[in-house]
Symmetry: C3
Subunit: 266 residues, 3 copies
């Protein structure tokens, strides 16, 4: 099963096709998301005015919605952009940052899931746990605790939503409700810097823009992303220089043995 995901092949299609990845995202990691998208070979564009988001989304290869610093106005723009993407069959990735931390985040995430077809729903263990109705705790934007088996939680939620669910953590879980993968790539330094969660969504969207099987696209994306994190950790350093080396290694993945380095279990 696992052998059927050609990470290197999908990645090569990104650098060849240079899909436009339209983000409506938060103000903390907006640069990081643009930069990692470009490192992976896609073209990022950030646009959130309600007057232009439908037009931008309609020509994109994928749309990323990230509620990290949500407002009512941003959610409104997300719904307009998401509807335009849905109409054209453009994959939509929702990063439910901090869902569960406030009532607004939970309510707005549910509204996005209700009004749009979210093809890939992504969060950390706590965030997905909250949406799955598991007994999960989120503090700010951090996952604090989760009861139950992550793969079962992801699978159940994916079946309910009819989409692909991605839970990120030390081991990433990806499920479309039928098949689940776990990805063991990555390095603990990734947890010590701001932005790794948000950037993962940009990478997932870049892969989903060129690979229709969203389960495979998400799994390949997280394996490649984690490999960059492993490569960056080869020289010991702190989180500042690690982050820059991470960009270097992400950019250099085009020359890496992605399929051989992937740690995917199906």
């Amino acid at each position: 099963m696992t052998d059927s995901i050609d990470i290197k092949g999908i990645h090569a299609r990104i650098t060849q096709q240079k899909p436009l990845i339209h983000h409506i995202t938060n103000w903390v990691t907006i640069y990081d998301c643009a930069n990692i998208t470009r490192c992976f070979g896609a073209l990022p564009v950030m646009a959130h005015a309600r007057e232009e988001v439908a037009e931008m989304a309609a020509v994109a290869g994928a749309l990323v919605l990230n509620i990290g610093t949500l407002t009512n106005e941003l959610i409104e723009s997300m719904i307009i952009a998401g509807a335009a993407a849905n109409k054209k069959g453009i994959p939509v990735v929702l990063d439910a940052v901090g869902v569960g931390a406030t009532g607004m985040r939970t309510q707005k995430t549910l509204e996005l899931l209700d009004r749009l077809e979210i093809n890939i729903l992504k969060g950390n263990y706590g965030e997905i746990g909250v949406l799955a109705g598991a007994n999960a705790k989120v503090k700010g934007v951090e996952s604090i605790s989760l009861d139950g088996q992550p793969d079962e939680i992801a699978g159940t939620l994916a079946r309910k939503l009819g989409n692909t669910v991605v839970m990120t953590g030390e081991t990433d879980i990806i499920s479309d409700g039928q098949t689940s993968y776990s990805v063991g790539n990555g390095d603990e330094m990734m947890g010590s810097i701001v932005g790794t969660g948000c950037m993962a969504s940009s990478v997932i969207a870049s892969f989903a823009a060129v690979e229709k099987n969203q389960l495979n696209a998400s799994t390949a994306a997280l394996a490649a992303y984690g490999i960059a994190g492993e490569l960056a950790a080869k020289n010991p350093c702190g989180p500042g220089t690690y982050k820059e080396r991470f960009y270097d290694m992400a950019y250099g993945l085009r020359d890496a043995d992605l399929n051989g380095m992937a740690k995917i279990k199906g």
Copy 2:
């Protein structure tokens, strides 16, 4: 007096307790503030929608308000969040970025000071000078000039406001109106990069979240922060790589002799 501030002990409490530091801040250095908070071992969260800020502030260990790119809407959210923090006794740090540069900044800062209990007021020499009614000049967000003795200006303002006042510069001044400290740690490279002022507030808030004596928390925070700046300067470099090394060193402070390296005068 100075010996009574156990910087290392306070810092260790941050990494143990991982307090949530809620920021309502500017769009220029919002990532920097999140990243330095995490480097020091606390959990940053940035949230500014008026519908969620009270809920987020109420579960935080400290609240940072920074007017660097203020709007009326942001100020409104700051007042809502600040009131929620005040009600729960959660420390509130106000970074009065650019006060004095425009009428709006001065008026809104005075409004925040009037409507909220600001536990720690922080600015550069010019900004605090403007608020103290000293003959100070601010150009954009830079301190240009200040008449008078900084420690007297800080002390008088702290007595008037009944809080702790922090003036940052080559030497930092911290006063609660009774006691004043000066901190001599730091490196001139810190003045050549964008974000050092804003990040200092995040570090002060992280210390204030775990140390009730706000004079001591602010003083310890600025000493530790300056020590990271000194350590980062050990390899000569320009402001780009310096910034990343600064994050590395901030992260590495957990292994440093903070009390021995501090240059605090009381």
Copy 3:
């Protein structure tokens, strides 16, 4: 002709006079713009509230307007700030990011050009092509194609607008409608990181703040900017560490032989 542009002399005036560069810009590269401005020796300030932009612009050395993440509210603030700058003869630089990608971007750019005196209009080949009515294509914020000779397109548009037009690309074109320069400095790595386009406008504004001849200021700025890019590329690396080295080298330009290294053709 070329010999008449004293890049080093203009650059030295920036570090001496430290002009305030007021930006109303996008949320993706707002930090980058502030940081590069400071690296070049000027003082950045970012302020976008309609209530304060006129006051801030009126004391600035130059004003940068960048529509990268435009909204109607930001455009309104740009018009207020631009009018204040025009009244005082303060140079205004417009970076038409993504013009042509959506109807809103094109319409709002034309509105800014109509209602304000834009002293320096800057875009990539595709963006300037769109504004010149050439057969150009923009995808997101990337230039995809342009029919016709860049220098002729820039010159015609500059004559029509009565200002200086800057087209950035592998070779930069600068024209005031009478005289055109091309700048060949730079490195291909600059195209692999997010922010180089936006930062170029900050540098142009910093030069225009101290040099009244806007053709010369823009040309000198792009030469110096490209030289920093060349210096940063001397150690092979990826886009993460390259970006930080780029800041280092920009900061170090005060000691570089700028006039000797410039590749300007007139």
